[in-house]
Amino acid sequence: MEVQIKTKNANLLNFMRKYGTVLGALVIFIIFSFATKNFFTVNNLLMLLRQMSMLTIISLGFTFVMGAGGFDMSIGNAAGLINIVFAITLINTNNFWIALLVSILCGLVIGLVNGTLVAYVGLPDFIATFAVGSIVYGIKMLITKGNPIFFPENIPAISLFIGQGYVGPIPFPVIIMFVCVIIAIFILNKTTLGRRVYAIGGNPVASLYAGINVKKYRLITFLISSFSVAIAAVVLTSRLGSAQPLAGEEFLLDAIAVVFLSTTMFGDGEPRGEGTFVGAFIISMLNNGLTMMNVAYYFQYITKGLVVILAVVISVVLGRKMNLKI
């Protein structure tokens, strides 16, 4: 059966399967540019990039988990808890770096618990990470009693710069985002870690037979996921200048949407770093553009859901067609 995709038709199918969602994003972009007055302006586009930065960072970590065939339901609540932890540590120590370190440690602990339960204890990842997310939510509420925590006046300047500062015209979170995107793409595409993560996602049994320490690598993906949640949560706290008890929760649904969009791009059904970036751009663009068109927020949710379904369905259907054609 050593048959290649021969016909032009099949080539087109393959192109659409890999880049159809990117084209779709362009189409939406163009529609928004013409439909609203302020969408296609430098200011708005920079704002859009800033809006998407936290979602992108969280989704990049989630990409590792899903690349290895796993799932992480705890990311929203984890972001919420780290939001609180960062603010409290910062207020008590008045030292940004200690607060950052504690936040990252807090993230890694959550990832360690997730990864241990899933990879070593063998719980289904949905259940384990959902339960951990629930516990994390409870701890968050226990700490704050549902009240926001505000930064005092004399907080170190860098604590606000992370989320609110600019380098030239570029918001600083955007720079953090691009650094994360580049690192994630590099790791996923060029290193042994990325190669093994996708191998496990492709066939965990064969990976085990090939000598890959599947448990270890699955644990690592959860650590990476929680690490990136911690980074995003620090940016979020700095951006808000406060800790909000309900902050971060919307990240879960959006990140799931982003990574599912990511599976429809560039690769062969696996989420890639590039795809996750474009996916986060699509979701954030919908939020931004629809708001500008004065679409009520509940319609925004409906639209986001429909876009994800459409992209995944098209990708799956085209994938099936490809397999028949070959």
């Binding site: 059966m1 050593e2 048959v3 290649q4 060029k190 290193t191 042994t192 870690l193 190669r195 093994r196 996708y198 191998a199 492709g202 066939n203 049994v205 064969a206 990976s207 085990l208 037979y209 090939a210 000598g211 890959i212 320490n213 062969d268 059904g269 696996e270 070959i326």
Partner: protein, 522 residues
């Protein structure tokens, strides 16, 4: 056509006899993609008899019963039920005609009780207030009755997961009997049962026969076949060799028929260059499946491990590679103690080419090169970063060396043929430097040309001084390739043979089938 009799209370099935043959198959042929797996099969089943099918793996028994049960449609030939020609488009139609199969695998919902499992997909209903409800009372009653008919007594409310292997098998049989079939096909029902349980099950099957049921019985255990059958049909290479009454049969005769005068592969290895160094030594290994397995493997040796499917060959490989936990016993590799785990195995120079290429070998969405370098990925890296150019280069080398048919290192592996996929998996290990290679059914499902390539490769590896363990249920390839052959049955090593000794093949075959070969009887 008979109709299904849903009333379980009548103990004897409604046979409605017109002739002394209940089922007849005439000239059955079956081809898959132009390859004949069955050719001109003539077969008949008398009411109230046990008719056994024997043959090597791949001889065509399973395909044949799958045609009877409506899974496959024959390419040519006819099936007659009570003298009437029938044609089954689906399993459902065959079941409606009164033919049911007790499958080799246990398929029970673990947390469903026995009676729920028995009626799964065929629940009895009652109407109440215009709606249908499951009639649990009636199902419990019927289940009790069926189990009683088997001469056994246990609570039908027990969840299936609490049952032992033989009880689970009883439930599987009840699942079939509750529909009051006329013909039941038993596909290796005694696998994974202990001696006592096996005897009890055979007794039950005999009693079913005595109650008038017609039974087609498939087993790899010849003693069992001799014990239970009225008639025996031998299959070989998709053909029926003979049907005989049990009185005329003997283990020796059946083995000879199964083997035939097979033309061997042209390939015959020269086995004269084994070294004395012991590369691997297993001392009384026990795992969930293995019992007291001990053997030694010398440098430069090809050690064959023969056994029918499910005998425990794969489990030996898994134990050595650290995929199944070892309860007792130890393994030494080149004189050093070795704690089995896949990572340790690789460090100690052990390679494993698994039997299930799709499930255990391939990363289906990875290209040829990524599949090739997966195990020894660090060799093609600078630090953590993969050197893609080197990776492509080494892949191209192996594509040439093993003549792998592919468009190039970047082709996604699932689009390759089975033999070429297997060669990629082989090159995954060859690009490292292993000392002990375990090859589990390395030629399964691949074409003749690729098979011979793999034989030649194994031979040259042994000549280089590597040790090879070759697990296979296909005797001729072991005979032509191995220095020594161990036979596994039911998780134990039951014999060791040299391919050169007299009647080696027949002795090995008999040992694989749980019998002993005592010289030809005629």
């Amino acid at each position: 056509m008979t109709t299904i009799n849903s009333n379980v209370k009548t103990a004897t099935p409604d046979l409605n006899l017109k002739s002394d043959v209940i089922l007849e198959a005439k000239g059955i042929c079956k081809e898959f993609n132009g390859v004949y797996v069955l050719k001109d099969i003539e077969f008949d089943l008398k009411p109230g008899e046990i008719h056994s099918l024997v043959g090597e793996n791949g001889a065509g028994k399973s395909t044949f019963v799958k045609i009877l049960s409506g899974v496959h449609k024959p390419s040519a030939g006819n099936i007659y039920l009570n003298g009437q020609p029938v044609s089954f488009d689906s399993v459902w139609q065959s079941e409606k005609a009164g033919i049911r199969t007790v499958h080799q695998e246990i398929n029970l919902v673990p947390y469903f009780s026995v009676y729920k499992n028995i009626f799964i997909g065929a629940e009895k209903r009652k109407k109440f207030a215009g709606f249908n409800y499951t009639d649990d009372k009636k199902m419990r009653e019927m289940a009790r009755e069926v189990i009683k008919r088997l001469g056994i007594d246990f609570d039908v409310n027990t969840p299936a997961m609490l049952l032992n292997a033989s009880m689970k098998r009883i439930v599987e049989i009840s699942k079939v009997l509750v529909h009051n079939p006329n013909i039941v096909i038993f596909d290796e029902p005694t696998t994974s049962l202990g001696e006592e349980e096996r005897k009890r099950l055979l007794k039950i099957i005999k009693s079913l026969k005595n109650s008038g049921l017609s039974i087609i019985y498939i087993s790899h255990n010849l003693e069992e076949i001799m014990d239970i059958s009225d008639r025996i049909t031998v299959f070989r290479d998709g053909r029926k060799i003979d049907t005989m009454n049990v009185e005329e049969a003997s283990i020796e005769k059946i083995v000879s028929m199964m083997l035939g005068h097979k033309t061997y592969n042209n390939y015959q290895r020269d086995c004269s260059y084994c070294y004395d160094d012991i590369y691997l030594e297993a001392e009384s290994l026990y795992t969930d499946k293995l019992k007291n397995v001990s053997f030694k493997l010398r440098k430069g040796e090809i050690l064959g491990i023969a056994g029918v499917v499910g005998a425990g060959k794969t489990e030996i490989a898994k134990a050595i590679f650290g995929l199944d936990p070892i309860h007792k016993g130890r393994i030494k590799v080149m004189g050093k103690d070795y704690e089995p785990s896949p990572q340790n195995a690789i460090d100690f120079g052990i390679a494993l080419v698994p039997e299930e290429r799709q499930a255990e070998g391939l990363i289906p969405n990875y290209c040829v090169s990524k599949n090739t370098t997966l195990t020894y990925l660090n060799k093609w890296c600078k630090g953590w970063v993969i050197d893609r150019k080197e990776e492509i280069k080494v892949t191209e080398e192996y594509i040439k060396k093993l003549s792998i048919k592919t468009t190039g290192p970047n082709q996604v592996i699932r689009f390759l043929s089975g033999g070429n996929q297997q060669k990629v998996i082989l090159s995954r290990w060859l690009n490292g430097n292993f000392h002990i290679g375990i090859f589990d059914e390395p030629t399964k499902g691949i074409d003749i040309k690729a098979k011979e390539d793999i034989y030649m490769l194994l031979d040259s590896l042994a000549r280089e001084g590597k040790s090879i363990i070759m697990l296979s249920s296909y005797l001729p390839e072991l005979m032509s390739l191995c220095d020594r052959i161990l036979v596994v049955n039911e998780g134990s090593i039951v014999g060791q043979f040299s391919p050169k000794e007299k009647d080696a093949e027949k002795k090995i075959m008999a040992a694989m089938l749980g019998g002993e070969y005592c010289g030809s009887s005629d």
